[in-house]
């Protein structure tokens, strides 16, 4: 396992699909990541496959394929064993400190007790991430120095 870094972030497949198909606070959360080049979004092939399947079912295969292509370019690929929970395993093997998920079961006390011994991981719904994200303090911890502001167009 890579040591967890607050600059490394995983979004579960439901969050990646909601970013595309619903927008709102989910898109706000991922815009935070997209507009900072020093933050890294991680994904495994299994996580991308889950996302593509959701988008294909609710938005059609062409949109799903185009979305996957864009995600593949925007994420660092992480490998994990087949059968593992794609989001948790990506976070664990990729050294992520943040997992964005709408899955209540991943945020339960029981899940926290099982995750924390293995990974220093904060599991949050996207609205909480969007609300609590503090780029200035994170920049100081990850990069160092004064936060220069966003450095990328989040919708490019």
């Amino acid at each position: 396992m890579t040591e967890a870094s607050p600059s490394r972030i995983v979004a579960d497949a439901d969050v990646l699909a909601a970013d595309l198909l619903v927008g709102g606070v989910t898109r706000e959360a991922l815009d935070h990541v997209r507009r900072h080049s020093w933050l890294t979004l991680l994904a495994s092939d299994q996580l991308l496959a889950d996302t593509e399947a959701i988008v294909a079912e609710l938005g059609g295969p062409d949109l799903a394929a185009a979305h996957r292509e864009r995600l593949e370019a925007a994420t660092e690929r992480i490998e994990h064993p087949a059968g593992d929970h794609p989001a948790l395993a990506t976070a664990y093997h990729g050294g992520a400190a943040h997992l964005l998920s709408d899955d209540d079961s991943l945020r339960s006390p029981a899940a926290g007790l099982s995750i924390q011994p293995h990974a220093d991981l904060s599991v949050r719904p996207p609205d909480a991430f969007a609300r609590l994200f503090d780029p200035a303090s994170l920049y100081g911890a990850v990069v160092g120095g004064e936060y220069p502001g966003p450095d990328r167009d989040p919708w490019a």
Binding site: V22, I54, L58, A66, D151, D153, A156
Partner: protein, 88 residues
């Protein structure tokens, strides 16, 4: 609002904002698929990683997705069904 964001100030078209006309992308590198966009006033060529043939920008994707009406609940249920099937 997006025009006032810091990334856009002074960068011209370097990051290919939403709605960028793909015909403005000019191939300048020998690496296939890597393009640059000309700054309209200076003629300076800057890398534009998002401006590639065949790949939609996030803005393009959000525009295309806007025609579908779905909810977070539907998305959650679709994912739960898929993962349940995969577990079987």
């Amino acid at each position: 609002m997006r025009d006032s964001e810091p990334w856009s100030r002074g960068w011209g078209d370097a990051v290919a904002p939403a709605g960028t006309d793909r015909t403005r992308c000019i191939q300048r590198h020998s690496v296939p698929g890597v393009f640059v966009v000309s700054h309209s006033s200076t003629g300076v060529f800057l890398p534009a990683p998002a401006c590639r043939t065949g790949m939609d920008t996030w803005a393009d994707l959000f525009d295309r997705a806007a025609e579908y009406e779905t909810t977070v609940v539907e998305i959650r249920e679709t994912l739960a069904d898929r993962r349940e099937r995969n577990d079987d």
